[in-house]
């Protein structure tokens, strides 16, 4: 029989996240939203969290040689809880972020040693970033235009990247570029571009509808020269034509956790709407509107729990090293969709108060939209599922 218990080890972590969330994540997320500015990297909270060992829940552990793996399951539970308090802040947390999976799965031992080293310093918070998206290439990853040209003992990068989380504060960014635009995915290479590298220019914040607390930045690579040693995985890796698969691998590792973030946001909306309803409405009275409120709450809760179960299944499969591509995409597609519905219902439950800017639920309604876009839009998830189920070409 299935077992849906969390386990004691994780409960201790959850207690920490709860305290952190109540005291910092949510208040800071709301403050950033009102100021329309990301929380700056020198905010004392980041140093505090970093010293406590609380990096991003997405930070991929270096794999241990023995013992049952539970990293993916731990990941979805902590991602949900962090996002319950504030999804923007959970992305703003210091750590490897999306830069972690490519380094850990593709990097040579020397690269891992060198680029993980700063992250072992627990005094000052550190960030890494992942730069794939370009102004003209989002879901169509194969269409990236940033070029990489070999020049002596280095590579020269030219192009533009956009919507890159935490890139302005990152120690290094995994930048994807192509050595041959006509070659599609086979032409892709990943480079570690360190902060301060000449030619890494025009760093600027993008202005978002929600999730203000973390920075999404754009930058230009103008004759940006990186050493050969920064080609992720080394020449041999690409000789085996695994370039694109490397990028996709990192998506696979993170998709259930991203889905769990949508679940967390929806859960926050449910709690806010339920608490509002209990405080302001006499739900026991036979008033038609109150019955609607109850029904909406029940629907929200049911859908949120359904999304959570899909996330848990995908994470469980990842931990037992079974293929989870369909399941991860189902979790992502369903959770992002239901979370939009749930946050919308929360706004409705509050009535006209729901759309005012000091009502927390309208922030959640704006925040959650991104979850159906990042890490593969809902449409891309459906493509992935259909490719597996019915052999949809492409």
């Amino acid at each position: 029989m299935i077992d849906l218990s969390i386990g004691r080890d994780l409960e201790t972590w959850l207690d920490q996240v709860r305290r952190l969330g109540r005291d910092y994540l949510r208040p800071l997320g709301i403050e950033a939203d009102r100021r329309h500015e990301p929380v700056p990297p020198d905010h004392p909270f980041f140093a505090l969290a970093w010293r406590m060992g609380l990096g991003q829940p997405l930070g991929v552990e270096e794999r241990s040689a023995s013992g049952p793996r539970n990293g993916a399951r731990r990941g979805v539970v902590l991602a949900e809880e962090m996002s319950y308090w504030d999804r923007g802040m959970s992305v703003a947390m210091p750590g490897l972020g999306l830069g972690g999976p490519p380094l850990l799965t593709m990097g040579t031992p020397e690269q891992k040693e060198r680029f993980l080293a700063p992250f072992r310093d627990r005094e000052q918070p550190h960030w890494a970033a992942f730069g794939m998206t370009e102004p003209g290439a989002g879901s169509d990853v194969a269409a990236i235009q940033t070029t990489a040209r070999r020049d002596g003992d280095g590579w020269v990068l030219n192009g533009a990247k956009t919507f890159i989380s935490n890139s302005m504060r990152a120690d290094w960014i995994v930048v994807w570029a192509t050595v041959d635009r006509a070659a599609g995915r086979a032409g892709h290479r990943a480079f570690i571009v360190e902060r301060g590298t000449p030619g890494l220019e025009d760093m600027r914040y993008e202005h978002k509808m929600g999730l203000i607390a973390y920075e999404s930045s754009s930058f230009t690579l103008r004759d940006c020269r990186v050493p050969v040693a920064n080609l992720l995985g080394g020449e041999r890796y690409y000789a085996e034509r695994a370039g694109f698969k490397g990028a996709m691998k990192s998506f696979n590792a993170t998709r259930p956790a991203i889905a769990a973030m949508a679940v967390g946001i929806a859960r926050a909306a449910y709690d806010a709407a339920r608490d509002f309803a209990r405080a302001h409405y006499a739900l026991d009275r036979p008033i038609p509107r109150y019955q609607r409120v109850r029904e909406k709450l029940a629907r929200m809760a049911r859908k949120i729990e359904g999304g959570r179960l899909l996330c848990w299944r995908a994470a469980y499969l990842a931990d037992v090293e079974q293929p989870n591509e369909i399941e991860a995409s189902m979790a992502k597609a369903f959770a992002a969709g239901m979370a939009q519905e749930a946050t919308g219902l929360a706004v409705e439950i509050l009535g006209d108060a729901g759309v005012t800017a000091d009502a927390y639920v309208e922030k959640l309604y704006r925040d959650v939209k991104a979850m159906d876009i990042v890490e593969g839009t809902g449409q891309i998830q459906r493509l992935v599922i259909a490719r597996r189920l019915v052999g949809l070409p492409g």
């Binding site: 299935i2 077992d3 409960e11 449910y270 709690d271 029940a298 049911r302 359904g306 469980y316 019915v390």
Partner: protein
Amino acid sequence: MFTLALSDEERLIQETARRFARDRLLPGLRAHERARGVPPEVVREFAGLGLAGGEDLGAFVRALVLEELAAVDPGAALALDAPGLAQPLLDAAGLGAAAGRGVVIEDVEGRFHARDGRLAGEHPWVPADAIAVTAVLHPGCAFVVCEGWRLTPIAACGLEAAGASRLLLDDAPIAATLEDPRALARARAGIRTAVGALLVGAARGAHEYAMRYATERTAFGRPIAHHQALAFLIADLATAVDVARLAVWRAAAALDRGESGEWEAASALAEAAEQALLVGPSAVQILGGHGFMKDHPVEKWMRDIRTLASLAGGRDEAELAAAALAPEHEMGFARGR
């Protein structure tokens, strides 16, 4: 930490039920519909497997078995599962297994009245032509009667292999009354979980059939499944089936842990009904004109799903039950949960 896998024994039971459904129900699909029942030898054979509703299987294994049967024929699943949905109430009332089919009526409109140890009232539809036990549920109590009814055969929208009758209780002697709120809640949760499992099965059957058809049928020079409008629909239907199944599994697991399962089961039935009611008509849609014809079973699953979703109070009562619980419902990661 949480684990979403079946044990070896559960897998074996699932496989046994799947094989039985494929070998013994599928070939007679339309014949069983016309006959309003499953041949006695098939009933006996299924009983011999030890997987019928009267057996002490636990809610989780029962959900696995019902899904497998319903993935071929939910009507036949009800016919084979005697005493079926009534079993949780029989268990709660200490009556043991019934000698035949059982039906459950959620008396939402107050059609039944108990007086002097007797129950009277009528109900427009029960999915059976002959029964051994009837259970009537009211908000605060449930009555079990073992005789004293009149059944008038009727035509129903679906589930023909189970039969269909109008039921009249004419001062039927009450065999047991169940009033303990916890026992009643658990029995109701058991019933809702079982109906949810049947809905998941029927939806899966419809989805798998339509998906296969869509890869074989070509239009505009390629399989229709390779047109994005259908590819996306097929992906959504697969997700619909899976999310409903997980909700049913969660409710069944709660029951097997000894919990009331009230919230989980009401949610599971509501979810399974909503998703199955999406899958059934969509499967017909995928087959186009062929879906509307009786040459393919998708039209049957669509009708069956519509009918199943009305069983034992159906989707409405499940949603109302969840709505009543919602303002107190907690979704955080509580200790020990």
